[in-house]
């Protein structure tokens, strides 16, 4: 769902850049109060894994593909503030090294896939799983919502930019991403179940895991 340059007008990408910068800045401030040094290697591994998984487009239907975003995966393991920073790091690398996502659209891509996907997915996950116990159903629904809400945000940015009317872009984007979100849910549940099985201490407090790796 990486928006290229040219899809967003100046007011939209500048606004998105501003909201993203403020959110990431707030996230960094929060992490400086609570992020433990021993979680650093895990942050590296999760970021590397999400980058790799994002390269794997899976076919969905009718000649369309999707790939993992990974925002809820990161948020469920590391917490939402870390997840915002992990996703932003990945999106910056994809933008400047791989030209995946436009340079002017970087703020919007961070907003959609790093901030809105993270918080939208995480809120739903915690609503369904109040103990933060990494319950598969809650993870699946949270992951699905993270993709769909991210697609909704992208649609709004495209429409506000005057690229395409709201009434056209919203149903089309939601249709495809409702399907792609199923893949997101399956991968998120599979990966967390695997980690839970082989390395449960890493996740012993759910999303508040101690990060022992």
């Amino acid at each position: 769902m990486h928006i290229p340059d040219g899809f967003l007008d100046t007011k939209t990408w500048v606004s998105a850049m501003g909201i993203s910068s403020a959110s990431v800045g707030y996230g960094i401030k929060k992490l400086k109060q609570e992020f433990d040094y021993k979680k650093i290697p895990l942050m590296g591994v999760i970021a590397a894994f999400i980058f790799a998984a994002q390269m794997i487009n899976f076919p969905v239907a009718g000649g369309t593909s999707g790939h993992l975003i990974g925002a809820l995966l990161a948020a469920a393991i590391m917490g939402p503030f870390s997840a915002m920073i992990i996703m932003s790091t990945i999106l910056i690398i994809q933008c400047f090294i791989f030209l995946d996502g436009g340079v002017t659209a970087l703020g919007a891509n961070i907003l959609n896939m790093g901030i809105i996907a993270t918080w939208g997915g995480y809120c739903i996950y915690r609503l369904l799983d109040k103990e933060n116990a990494l319950h598969p159903f809650a993870l699946f629904v949270g992951a699905w919502v993270s993709v769909v809400i991210s697609a909704l945000a992208a649609s709004i940015e495209l429409a506000v930019s005057g690229t395409i009317p709201f009434s056209v872009v919203i149903p089309a984007m939601l249709f495809w991403h409702a399907i792609i979100g199923i893949g997101e849910g399956i991968i998120t549940v599979f990966v967390i179940s695997y980690v839970k099985k082989v390395k449960p201490e890493m996740l012993e407090n759910g999303g508040n895991g101690n990060g022992e790796v």
Partner: protein
């Protein structure tokens, strides 16, 4: 030692996906590209003109397409790992060191 092992295993899994699975990824348009094609605004996309090292996950100068993607995946996984560690070090709570 155990800590070291888990990090190495995790990184190896990421590398296996990025290097060996990535050449077989679907080349169908993703959700946004599909909508942009169907609704006729794909032409709005412009090249940022930003000088990139590995545009579109294809390592330059490598004729074999699958190998070019694998190399891009390898570099991307390592760069992301190192960058996230550096970011983690920059944001971690100082007293927790």
């Amino acid at each position: 030692m155990e800590k070291f092992n888990s990090i190495v295993v995790g990184l190896l899994i990421a590398l296996i996906i990025g290097v060996f699975l990535s050449p077989f990824a679907s080349s169908f348009p993703d959700g946004l590209e599909r909508v942009a094609e169907d609704k006729g605004f794909i032409k709005s996309a412009v090249d940022s003109g930003f000088p990139s090292l590995i545009a579109d996950y294809t390592f330059p100068g490598v004729e074999n397409e699958k190998l070019a993607t694998s190399l891009a995946g390898f570099i991307g996984v390592i760069v992301t790992f190192v960058a996230a560690i550096a970011v983690g070090k920059a944001v971690a709570r100082k007293e927790s060191r």
